[in-house]
């Protein structure tokens, strides 16, 4: 009966109830939607960045990351391979690479690139390149002096598949090595800068050209499924570190490899918190104001209840129950609206290509597919509900303080 009373009381002034409920609905909806958008962006950003040769974990010779030259290569791939193989989680893949800075040129142009030697079959399971070839073909392991370049680079060099490019870099003997490679295919990437930054040859070609014997620059491990917080990576990195002497090897997880992105992701989180705060302030004031208004209109009634013997705590409970119903109704509608919206937009995505030039450097996707995370939905609901109830305590306490005489004198 208490809940019946509360429910009927909220509908005594439907207009006011609808206004405040709308505020709750918009609040919850916007929280869910904004979270969905942010998560969609985050997930896509991480996926892009990880696929662009980062992987979930990388292993290098100590010093390679500060100075990525051939001298800082790892010379014992067997030890590395054993360490990785025995610890590899279910569904994960790994690949080894040679990766140095180089200059590519043809008759007309030359430019600096990252020259990557890959094991084509293994690499395809680790990074984007296996699925990125749009013209020509991907590399085969028995290719010799064949090169795969980005579409943008091909255009910039005004060259064609089948033509040759010269790659120049410093070799293990500190000499300038240069080799001619024939273009077998071009790849496309989410970002044009990626297409211009990387060229791929087979691992053995790269080792031969740079006189590395079987030396490699890096090993990358890619996990199955989406990574968000890097916790699973940490666990594996720990195991690998125990197998690989840390005087020589450096094992790093993607948050360590991409500190800029890590910062960017925490910026996203801060956006969400700021929005929570905005919603809460707006909604909190709305709830306090309208509830106070309703309380003062019903002053006589609260006096009557007290005269009848209702205790102040029960009156407080009654008013808070009314807020609770209001909040829960708003929350339910807000959730339905938010979830449906996120779900619908997830299928088509929001096209940001107009802005893409500006955001490209961060690895932001051109199309965002908002994602719904249970934890975000729960947080949004709890924030609205708990804070909504907390701010209702003030008007409720006011209602409980009316004395019967005061109230009855208002007749």
């Amino acid at each position: 009966m208490y809940s019946q009373l509360a429910w009927r009381n909220i509908w005594r002034n439907p207009r006011r109830t609808i206004v405040i409920m709308t505020a709750v609905i918009i609040g919850v909806f916007s929280m869910i939607f904004l979270c969905g958008l942010m998560r969609g962006m985050e997930v896509e950003m991480i996926r892009n960045n990880l696929a662009t040769l980062t992987g979930n974990i990388q292993i290098h010779q100590k010093g390679y990351r500060a100075d990525p030259v051939v001298e800082n290569s790892m010379t014992d791939p067997v030890l590395l391979e054993n360490a990785i193989k025995t610890n590899l989680p279910e569904g994960a893949a790994w690949a080894m690479r040679v990766r140095v800075n180089a200059i590519v040129s043809n008759a007309r142009h030359s430019t600096g690139v990252t020259f990557v030697g890959i094991d084509p079959a293994k690499e395809a399971r680790v990074s984007f390149i296996g699925k990125a070839v749009t013209d020509g073909r991907y590399l085969n392991s028995d290719d010799t002096n064949k090169i795969l370049i980005g579409r943008a680079l091909l255009d910039k060099f005004k060259t064609k598949i089948g033509h040759k490019l010269i790659v120049m870099s410093q070799d293990a003997d500190d000499e300038i090595a240069s080799t001619a490679f024939r273009i077998v295919g071009t790849f496309r990437a989410e970002m044009e800068s990626t297409e211009k930054a990387y060229v791929f040859v087979t691992l053995s070609d790269a080792q031969k050209m740079l006189k590395l014997k079987n030396g490699i620059s890096e090993a990358a491990i890619a996990f199955k499924g989406q990574s968000i917080d890097g916790q699973k990576e940490k666990a594996l990195a720990q195991k690998l570190k125990s197998r690989l002497p840390d005087s020589i090897y450096k094992v790093e997880t993607w948050p360590e490899l991409l500190p800029m992105m890590r910062e960017y992701l925490s910026l996203f989180d801060n956006f969400i918190y700021i929005w929570y705060f905005v919603v809460f302030i707006a909604m909190g004031f709305g709830i306090v104001n309208t509830t106070l208004m309703a309380i003062f209109e019903r002053m006589r009634e609260f006096g009557l209840l007290k005269a009848l013997g209702m205790k102040p705590v029960s009156i407080i409970r009654g008013v808070i129950t009314e807020s609770f119903f209001l909040l829960v109704s708003g929350i339910i509608i807000g959730n339905i609206a938010g979830i449906i919206t996120v779900f619908l937009i997830n299928r088509t995505g929001i096209d940001l290509s107009a802005l893409a030039a500006g955001v490209e450097m961060w690895g932001m996707p051109r199309v965002i597919h908002p994602e719904l995370w249970i934890i975000d939905v729960i947080t949004a609901n709890l924030v609205v509900l708990v804070l909504g109830l907390v701010v209702s305590i003030y008007p409720a306490a006011k209602a409980a303080r009316f004395t019967p005489i005061e109230a009855l004198e208002k007749t």
């Binding site: 009373l5 009557l304 009848l308 013997g309 205790k311």
Partner: protein, 228 residues
Amino acid sequence: MNNIVELEKIKKTYLQGKVDIPAINNVSLSIKKGGFVAIAGPSGSGKTTLLNIIGGLDQPDSGTVRVDGEKFETLTPSRLAELRLFKIGFVFQAYNLIPVLSAAENVEFVMLLQGIPKKERLRKAHAILDDVGLSGKYNRRPAELSGGQQQRVAVARAIVSNPSIVLADEPTANLDSKTGQGLLELMKTMNKEKKVTFVFSTHDKMVMDYAGRLVRLRDGSIFDDQSK
């Protein structure tokens, strides 16, 4: 102990601005169990103040109040609320009912506060509404009842749990004289049949005629007290 209410040397002064307004001036009064007592007097004579003091809604500046043997000044606010809930029924001049609750629910509500189980509440609410002549109107909201019917619901609510005393502050003031008479007949019947003590205030001569005892107030003092 035959007295439900015992007032001893009650004084109550209101401060309005800087002026003291004496509302109750040295009133002593005992009311016997089963009484049907009218507090009569012109407007401003202190009837409401006196009833509020008896009902524990207001505190006197000096003097002692006992209802059903309980001395008010020794009670905590929460005990006082309980006393009101279980032993005192109230009928006010107007706006007695909770507008969002039906007649039966209004009557049920006090029993809910008293912790009476649903089934019993419902049975008692319907029975008492039948007694006050509102059978068939259980589910009407206050707005769908006439003024007289609303006051009947208030009486039903006040007596449903057999309180020691029902305090009614000018219960007929907002009713036409015929409806007012009807309400008083009802109160009188309930007083006789259910042995509920009634104390009601009025400034209406016709209403005073129903009283078994007439206590007259003037400027906060009793100047006449007659039993019939």
